[in-house]
């Protein structure tokens, strides 16, 4: 059946900010869908609150609304745009939930909007565990025995029937939020209560445990003619009990006979048909008992998912793109396979390599939280690696993680907790792969490890081979290692760094020896068909085989190094910049070559660049590609810290670096030399010093004075950064910090308390400087810029201050010799402007600035790096009146890490961001808050309790809240202050003052807004308990005075009800 002509305008809802469980895979999916629908002549309307996405680039949709994904806001978009259809399956759980809410609220019916891709009934059947169970019974498929609980007693009654342990899954939450495994009555009560609270329908499923069973996933597609295919099978390395987002996963399935595989296939297709997914992709999860093969269905997602993004990258079959085409009426046999170009998309990819995905966690950011891996996802990103064998792919994945490791151990960084060694094997955790490898090195039996870990013996046998190959070269001089031995090591996934460690050589020696011996990398194509047909799309992975398939062309070529796995401090923003660089360089005639290992991203879509190498971003892996492609230039300044840290080694290896020379980057990073630059330019900066010993730190502190900003050198995202208010704290920190970064000293800066922070993103071509945006932070200095809200244009700074900031940025860019992007952080205190930091590379704020101003800064920078002049680009005047305020707000993952304090500080912990656009600052700020899950309350009780420093300033805030109709509640100190100022206030007990106290009030739902500002970093204080309770119960929780002030204005704006929606296309500016 061909394209539907009865619909013309299609609304797509994105997934909003990057959060744990919902990352940039939905930007990849959504961007594909927008592109393909647009190409097919449909008018596309997009709503997504996340400005750092490629899909919200104004050219991807006809109408782009960077607005909160709420019923109210999307209804306004629908009213303004009157779309014919809504495609709800591409925006993750957020998009799906919003579509369901719009339907339930009658909005879709009212405006005559048809749900395409998945109907209301399908979504309900797929998502509602009860309906799903009934559906599975109808088609004779087994599911784990289970019961619904609406109260703790229900759960206890069920456990009495089936025994321990049980798995608890709240209905309608994302990424398994609120779920867990209970092994005892205490855990059962805690997880059930939490799950009921988090579930929008107050319901959890308590399920018979299939922990330890094998877990499989199937990616299925079906069209309107009932043609259905399996795109990919995935086998989890970690047994049931670990969320699939937290599991190492492998494609294709490795340990099923065809007979068993076909049972899964038949079941998957039957489920698609029974649930009624008429068009699009779904993900079905199964558990298989390794002892007897009993199969149970775990769940299905009637939408594109993280797994479908992985499956797309693993096979070359673009699930989201095809799903969009199916939703508008095409059938699978009408759509060509992009990769072969001659065969149809109606087939099942066959792959002749092995794919391994490994999650990336960030537990170090959340001290105090439980690091055990459970059914609730905790990872913040992932890497994918391809090799011919599992061993090769696993080795590559382990060195892609950007965690300082060069592979699966054997890299000189193995440290094991001998006292709890077997617990690290038995209890799923981030370190487990290293413990498994070590156990094998120590000669422990595969069968024993399989018993302890639940990992299939086949995977363990592959790992045993890896460590066996390690052992065969360990302790021998490099010169003695023969070509076959080196080749074998490479085929088993060992990196040059590991070989160097094992042979006591240097990485460079290994590379030279390897090349001298003729052990060269070969590249194989990802072609969907195991070489049965010739592939048209150059998408490659590296392996060590006989034949190389990647062919160098004669075109001028630029290689873009991507950002690697998402983690806190380095997220989608850098991928956005890489993608823009590829687009821009392609426009100016370069062949673009992308290198990245993150399967969630747009950069690893095979049609983003001319060539894609799905490879780790290590010196070794990049150089192997460079040796083949011999690019005219390599871009290292778009992908954040990952490629930047390779700049020197690449330059030394004679690789041409495009844009700002590594030397200039060093100059900005080297504090002593950079201070010289600032002195020369007459620009102020906070007093600073460096210390490599405890004594030195005390000495420097005495010279500079407290409070101090203290951090290890060379960090990203403020890792390990604190504010020290006194010597005791400083000493404690320095003792710990030496573990963080042993090779680098500790940096101490005078902390400018109460200063306003300002960020600037600019592009310099060596002659002129274009200031892309000046961002005024809402939260004062001391809170990591990635975690604070900010606004374009500045909303409180005077013109002369902004003018000075621009001049300083300009002078710095020219002085440092920047060719491309630069970010400068300023602090403004008492009218004085200080420079805090300069980073001559793409920053986290580039996409936000680009969306806010309509000037695509990363593209401008890429063109500059390609030799174009800013003066020739016809850019709009940088100081023009924008006529709007754009507020960026950070999204915090505290809900995922119970026990972690939600106070903001100099260490970044946010996972993503949203943007609010409005004619005035309060409305823009209000939108930014509404766009985040914990929306702003407009009535009820506000609990206000602030540190002494903020006491005076809080009075007008409380008075304002009172005038907006809020009841004010405070503990003694703040209450006394407010009463004195004439603000009516109810007093409540502090936690240590007895019961009932403020935490009881929060738990009981008597508080709708918490304003609690801490002083310094207290632990386990009253404030900690209050904030933790607020996070756990979803109460809006504000921890800084500045945010409180902005929030009150925002609440007023919401009460006025004037939050009109605005399309980016109406904002003006040359966005592309």
């Amino acid at each position: 059946m061909p394209r539907r002509d009865d619909i013309n305008k299609i609304l797509i809802i994105g997934s909003g900010p990057i959060v744990i469980g919902q990352a940039c895979e939905f930007d990849y999916s959504g961007a594909q869908a927008c592109k393909v629908l647009r190409e097919d002549g449909f008018e596309v309307v997009l709503v997504n609150s996340n400005p750092a996405t490629i899909m919200t680039d104004p050219e991807f949709a006809h109408r782009t609304y960077v607005e909160p994904i709420t019923v109210e806001s999307v209804e306004r978009v629908i009213a303004a745009e009157r779309p014919d259809a809504l495609l709800p399956t591409l925006g993750g759980q957020t998009g799906l939930n919003c579509a369901m809410a719009l339907d339930a609220a009658g909005v879709l019916q009212r405006y005559g909007v048809e749900l395409i891709g998945a109907t209301r009934e399908v979504i309900a059947k797929g998502e509602d565990r009860k309906l799903f169970r009934e559906a599975m019974e109808r088609i004779g498929l087994d599911t784990p025995r289970s019961a619904y609980a609406y109260a703790i007693a229900d759960a206890e009654a069920f456990v009495a029937q089936v025994g321990w342990p049980v798995v608890i899954r709240p209905s309608f939450t994302m990424g398994g939020a609120g779920g867990g495994i209970a092994y005892n009555a205490d855990e059962l009560r805690a997880i059930t209560a939490n799950g009921i609270a988090l579930s929008p329908v107050g319901e959890v499923l308590v399920e018979e445990s299939v922990i330890g069973w094998k877990e499989y996933e199937m990616e299925v597609m079906r069209d309107v003619n009932d043609n259905a295919v399996i795109v990919c099978s995935i086998e989890n390395f970690d047994a049931m009990g670990v969320h699939t987002g937290d599991s190492i996963t492998v494609a294709p399935a490795q340990t099923l006979t065809d007979r068993e595989y076909q049972v899964l296939r038949d079941a998957s297709l039957a489920i698609m048909r029974e649930i009624g997914v008429t068009t699009g992709g779904s993900n079905v999860q199964f558990a298989v008992n390794p002892a007897d093969g009993r199969l149970v269905v775990i769940e299905m997602n009637p939408r594109v998912s993280r797994s479908s993004a992985l499956a797309s990258k693993a096979t070359g079959f673009p699930i989201a793109k095809i799903a969009a085409k199916l939703a508008v009426g095409y059938t699978l046999d009408e759509i060509p396979n992009d990769i072969t170009r001659v065969t149809p998309a109606c087939f099942e990819p066959s792959i002749d390599y092995t794919v391994v995905k490994v999650p990336r966690w960030a537990f170090e950011k959340f001290p105090g939280t439980d690091t055990t891996l459970t059914t609730r996802m905790k990872s913040v990103g992932e890497v994918m690696a391809m090799g011919r064998t599992f061993a090769e792919a696993l080795g590559k994945a382990m060195r892609s993680l950007e965690n300082g490791r060069a592979g699966l151990g054997a890299d000189g960084k193995d440290v094991f907790d001998e006292h709890h060694f077997d617990r690290y094997l038995a209890v799923p955790n981030e370190q487990r792969p290293y413990y498994i490898a070590e156990a094998l090195r120590r000669g422990r039996d595969v069968a024993e490890i399989a018993e302890l870990t639940g990992v299939d013996p086949w995977f363990l046998e592959q790992m045993r081979r890896m460590v066996e190959v390690e052992a065969s070269i360990a302790g021998r001089p490099l010169a003695e290692i023969t070509a076959p031995e080196l080749r074998k090591a490479k085929q088993h996934g060992l990196s040059d760094v590991q070989v160097a460690h094992l042979t006591g050589a240097l990485e460079g020696d290994v590379r030279r020896a390897r090349l001298d011996l003729g052990v060269r990398a070969t590249f194989k194509a990802v072609d969907t068909c195991a070489a049965e047909f010739a592939a048209g799309t150059p998408y490659y992975y590296k392996t060590y085989e006989e034949e190389n398939e990647a062919v160098r062309t004669d075109r001028k070529k630029a290689m873009i190094l991507g950002a690697g796995p998402n983690r806190i401090g380095q997220g989608i923003e850098f991928d956005y910049c890489c993608v823009h660089a590829a687009y821009a360089l392609s426009e100016v005639g370069y062949e673009t070559i992308m290198v990245n290992c993150n399967p969630e991203t747009v950069s690893t879509d095979y049609d983003t660049s001319d060539k894609l190498y799905f490879e780790p971003l290590t010196f070794e892996d990049v150089m192997d590609i460079v040796d083949l492609e011999r690019p005219d230039g390599v871009l290292v300044t778009f992908g954040g810290q990952t490629p930047l840290k390779l700049a020197h080694a690449l330059e030394q290896a004679g690789v041409p670096i495009l844009g700002t020379p590594p030397e200039a980057i060093d100059l900005a990073e080297d504090r002593r030399r950079f201070a010289g630059v600032l002195d020369r330019l007459g620009i102020a900066y906070p007093a600073a010093g460096t210390a490599s010993t405890l004594e030195e730190a005390v000495e420097v502190a005495a010279r500079i004075g407290y409070p101090l900003l203290v951090r290890p050198s060379y960090v990203l995202g403020g890792r390990g950064m604190v504010i020290a208010y006194n010597e005791e704290y400083l000493l404690r920190y320095v003792q710990q910090a030496t573990e963080v970064s042993p090779d680098h000293p500790v940096l101490l800066d005078r902390f400018l308390e109460g200063a306003i922070e300002v960020d600037v993103d600019a592009v310099c071509d060596g002659e002129t400087v274009y200031i892309g945006g000046v961002m005024e932070h809402i939260e004062e200095a001391g809170i990591h810029s990635g975690d604070s809200a900010c606004c374009i244009p500045p909303f409180s700074l005077g013109d002369s201050t902004v003018g000075r900031i621009r001049e300083h940025a300009r002078a710095l860019a020219l002085e440092l010799g920047v060719r491309g992007l630069m970010n400068v952080q300023f602090a403004v205190k008492d009218e004085a402007v200080y420079v805090l930091e300069v980073n001559p590379r793409a920053s986290r704020t580039v996409p936000y600035v680009s969306k806010a101003t309509g000037v695509a800064l990363a593209k401008v920078a890429a063109r500059v790096m390609a030799g174009q002049r800013l003066a020739d680009m016809d850019l709009p005047p940088e100081d023009r009146e924008l006529g709007r305020f754009c507020v960026k707000e950070a999204v915090m993952p505290f809900g995922r890490f119970p026990g972690t304090d939600s106070v903001l500080g100099p260490e970044m912990r946010s996972t993503g961001e949203v943007m609010g656009v409005a004619a005035d600052f309060p409305s823009a700020y209000a939108k930014s808050q509404l766009a985040i899950d914990y929306s702003l309350p407009t009535e009820g009780t506000a609990f206000v309790s602030v540190c002494d420093r903020d006491k005076r300033a809080i009075v007008p805030v409380a008075r304002h809240l009172h005038s907006l109709g809020f009841r004010i509640m405070s503990t003694r100190g703040t209450a006394r202050l407010l009463k004195a100022a004439g603000v009516p206030v109810d007093e409540v007990r502090k936690v240590h003052e007895g019961r009932p106290n403020i935490v009881d009030a929060i738990v009981n739902g008597d508080v709708q807004l918490v304003i609690n500002t801490p002083f310094g970093r207290e632990t386990r204080s009253d404030g900690y308990h209050i904030r933790t309770a607020a996070v756990e119960h979803g109460v809006s929780n504000i921890t800084t005075l500045a945010a409180a002030q902005a929030s009150v204005q925002a609440i007023e704006a919401i009460q006025r009800g004037g939050l009109d929606v605005i399309a980016l296309q109406d904002l003006g500016g040359d966005a592309s």
């Binding site: 297709l269 066959s350 002749d352």
Partner: protein, 426 residues
């Protein structure tokens, strides 16, 4: 390359065009020759190598990990291994599956099958794709490339070769009953009908056990007879239907079988699979030809022109039938279209199943087409009860999308008109 824990002997694969692949022996020692082909199924290696259609062929599995789940008696597709050799990237030393009874390596060694691992199988596959299927020799004894290439050049090819006689049974047997000498009793016969609805005589040309399992489950008693069984002998068994099976080699060389089939057309309903499809087509007066490198895998899209549905199918064939050679187009039965009969893509796009007129047997309809290369996958006679498909509806290995074709056979024997009803339901 394999791990270090087991010392495997070197092995060499040589192709007739002089290309050689070094590797390690992972099966029985010795030397084997055949036409080297590749199969893209990601699972199901045991079913592949025990499929008698692979006789005379050295099979390369494109999936790099082979042997992971071992082998077991229930998954046998015949009495033994028929592929003359096996080429893989890496053969697993361990068998990890609750049904595993033996490692693949031990199985191959026990059955005397030569196998080589450590080969860049993707390079080999691309080579076959570009050069076509080639004669080859795999050896653990002769590691001299020049000598082995010379042997490959002397190896017999498949064209004009009747391998059916070598793989078929010599004595008749009933599925589920006693097996003839040399055939072990299958561990898994499928669900046998208590009271069979129909009796089917199946001409063995290398029949896969899963065809018999599917027939049994469809309610048939199946009597398997040697391929040289005459029409009279077959009819003497009082069958309700006649089945023509898959099998190895060049269909045009199996003259006796399609001549028997021709003489039976119209006598009883006929169903053919793979070689059986080629037998029916030849009997109807159609020509066959050799594909460059064949279809072997479990992901081939086939469009059923009668239902418009696409089936993902299991395939294993190197030869193909030329539908246009049967006779002239009958436009009035072909949607009044006058497209070139040989342009199968045009018929697929039009969504019409074209009908031609054969000299002896009346109207013949094209029912199934491969969407990858627009070749013939199924035909049926309209004036007599007979149909056949080139692919494997019994799967094993592969998807079950085309299982309905066994039900179609029962309906044909029942005398129903809508034999393809329910097509595409898996």
């Amino acid at each position: 390359m394999s791990g270090l824990s087991h010392l495997r002997a070197p092995a060499l694969l040589a192709l007739e065009d002089g290309t050689c692949f070094e590797g390690l022996a992972c099966g029985a020692p010795g030397e084997a020759h055949g036409e080297v082909v590749f199969n893209t199924s990601m699972a199901g290696y045991q079913e592949v190598i025990t499929d008698p259609s692979y006789a005379g062929q050295i099979v390369t599995m494109t999936s790099p990990h082979i042997g992971n789940y071992g082998v077991n008696a229930a998954d046998m597709e015949s009495r033994g291994v028929f592929a003359s050799g096996l080429v893989v990237r890496e053969l697993s030393d361990v068998a990890s599956n609750w049904r595993a009874e033996e490692t693949l390596s031990a199985f191959l060694t026990r059955l005397g099958v030569v196998a080589i691992e450590g080969v860049d199988t993707r390079r080999l596959t691309r080579h076959i794709r570009e050069m076509g299927a080639l004669r080859a020799v795999v050896s653990t004894e002769d590691l001299d490339p020049a000598s082995l290439v010379a042997k490959a050049r002397q190896a017999p090819g498949l064209v004009g070769r009747d391998l059916v006689a070598e793989v078929a049974v010599r004595e008749r047997f009933t599925w589920g009953g006693e097996m003839p000498p040399g055939c072990e009793v299958p561990v898994d016969t499928g669900v046998l009908p208590v009271t069979p609805r129909h009796r089917v005589v199946a001409f063995d040309s290398g029949i896969k056990y899963n065809i018999l399992r599917r027939m049994a489950e469809a309610g048939c008693e199946v009597i398997v007879v040697p391929p040289t069984t005459s029409a009279a002998e077959a009819l003497a068994l009082e069958p309700d239907g006649l089945f023509f099976a898959n099998g190895p080699g060049d269909p045009s060389a199996v003259t006796y079988l399609y001549e028997t089939l021709r003489s039976l057309l119209g006598e009883r309903p006929v169903f053919g699979i793979c070689l059986g499809h080629q037998m029916l087509s030849l009997a109807l007066g159609c020509a066959t030809y050799k594909l460059k490198y064949g279809h072997r895998g479990g992901n081939q899209p086939v469009k059923n022109l009668l239902t418009g549905r696409v089936e993902i199918t299991s395939q294993n064939h190197g030869f193909c039938v030329d539908f246009a050679s049967i006779g002239p187009l009958v436009p009035e039965l072909s949607g009044d279209l006058t497209h070139d009969v040989g342009d199968l893509g045009a018929w697929v796009r039009a969504g019409v199943a074209p009908v031609v007129r054969s000299e002896r047997f009346g109207h013949v309809q094209l029912t199934h087409v491969n969407l990858n290369d627009m070749t013939v996958e199924g035909v049926r006679a309209l004036d007599i009860p007979a149909y056949s498909v080139q692919y494997h509806p019994e799967a094993a290995p592969g998807p079950h999308d085309a299982r309905y074709l066994f039900g179609s056979f029962v309906r044909l024997m029942d005398g129903a008109d809508d034999v393809f009803a329910g097509g595409g339901e898996s």
